[in-house]
């Protein structure tokens, strides 16, 4: 009897330990899920090839001023394709604005949209984009063959298309700049080991796009 009681107590204690271990494991899996490397900006279509000269196109911004895209210039260009009816685009606008602010010395951010002008106006006012270069029209999107939104394209000073992709989060946007450093067309290519080394000069060892 004494032995049975002792063994029962021992079993209970061990069961508590096992249950605790299972709970801890589940928690760790949860943390892993929230920390899993964000998928880089996806290149879903063929369109223009990365590391080739970007197609040159001139379009009028919403004030009628011409905006040159893809030409050799003093500053790089980030084209951010959006639409008033796209909630993800709106959720990304603060991130795009902060990128524009952080890199105001070397990067021009150009917002490209299409569609109803009053809706554009509402979006501009709601997000404080009055001072931004904002193009409304289909020309640029058609030239760059943008099929999905929100989409971003990064063009360097020489007019070379450096990175592009469907962007759904700040991490995706950052990954565009990251891929420029890593010298790959997209982060996916980099992660799958298809990267070239010609642009990897300032990164002795690769790091992920997680910030």
């Amino acid at each position: 009897m004494q032995l049975l009681i002792a063994s029962n107590i021992l079993l209970w204690l061990l069961l508590i330990a096992v249950a605790f271990t299972v709970m801890a494991l589940v928690r760790q899996i949860g943390v892993l899920h929230s920390r899993i490397a964000p998928a880089g900006a996806l290149m879903v279509d063929k369109g223009v090839t990365v590391n080739d000269p970007a197609p040159q196109v001139t379009a009028a911004d919403r004030h009628g001023r011409p905006v040159n895209i893809g030409y050799r210039a003093e500053r790089s260009q980030l084209l951010f394709f959006l639409a008033p009816g796209c909630p993800v685009c709106k959720s990304l606008l603060p991130a795009v604005k902060s990128i524009a602010k952080d890199n105001s010395g070397e990067l021009d951010v150009i917002y490209v949209s299409d569609g109803d002008f009053t809706e554009q106006q509402a979006l501009i006012e709601a997000n404080g984009l009055q001072q931004a270069t904002y193009v409304v029209g289909p020309e640029i999107g058609m030239t760059y063959q943008i099929g999905k939104l929100p989409y971003a394209v990064l063009i360097d000073q020489a007019g070379t298309l450096r990175a592009k992709g469907l962007v759904n989060s700040r991490e995706h946007l950052d990954s565009l700049f990251e891929t420029v450093h890593l010298g790959s067309a997209t982060l996916q290519h980099y992660l799958h080991g298809e990267h070239k080394h010609d642009h990897a000069h300032d990164h002795a060892h690769p790091h992920s796009a997680q910030h």
């Binding site: 508590i16 299972v22 709970m23 949860g30 899920h33």
Partner: protein, 178 residues
């Protein structure tokens, strides 16, 4: 008539579960209001009153479960509460609004509505049913108290683990693309 250890262990586990649920709701009352509003079962004006009374009801039931005189009634109250939650979930599943947050496992563990959550509520209701069964008269020794505490702890830990697995499931599904 069941052995008192079984009934008391079930009540203790339920009490701990309800207390943790109430603390989730009270700690992040604003978020909980938002979740209840998203269920669209109550007019917006009634939501703050409803969330407060739900959290207080959970606390009250948790306390009553620990009192020998009240625990039978409290266990029935838990069954009713689980039925209420299940009907709110079921109603939104029936409406096809699967993308709202269940609010089942507290803040930070958002998960969409799925039929399996009804099963979870059923299991808790069954546990409450066990706690509502009248218990046989028997003197309780130190070993009985130990078993009650140990079983309660194991039940609570398993509850947390199952909740975690349920919350992970949609994220895993997103990863594997199924």
């Amino acid at each position: 008539m069941l052995d008192p250890v079984l009934v008391i262990a079930a009540s203790t586990a339920l009490a701990a579960l309800l207390a943790s649920a109430a603390s989730h709701k009270l700690r992040d009352w604003r978020a909980f209001n938002g979740i209840v509003r998203a269920y669209q079962v109550l007019p917006d004006a009634l939501v703050p009153a409803a969330t407060t009374s739900l959290a207080l009801a959970e606390l009250g039931l948790a306390l009553a479960l620990l009192l020998p005189a009240w625990h039978g009634l409290a266990a029935l109250g838990v069954v009713l509460l689980m039925a209420l939650y299940a009907s709110a979930i079921g109603l939104n599943l029936w409406r096809g609004r699967r993308d709202i947050d269940c609010g089942c496992s507290g803040p930070g563990a958002a998960q969409p509505l799925r039929p399996v959550l009804l099963l979870r509520n059923l299991v808790i209701a069954l546990l409450a049913g066990l706690a509502a069964v009248p218990m046989a008269e028997r003197a309780l020794g130190a070993l009985d108290i130990f078993v009650v505490i140990a079983a309660g702890a194991v039940a609570l830990l398993i509850h947390v683990a199952v909740d975690g697995l349920l919350a992970n499931q949609p994220r895993l599904a997103k990863l594997t693309g199924r």
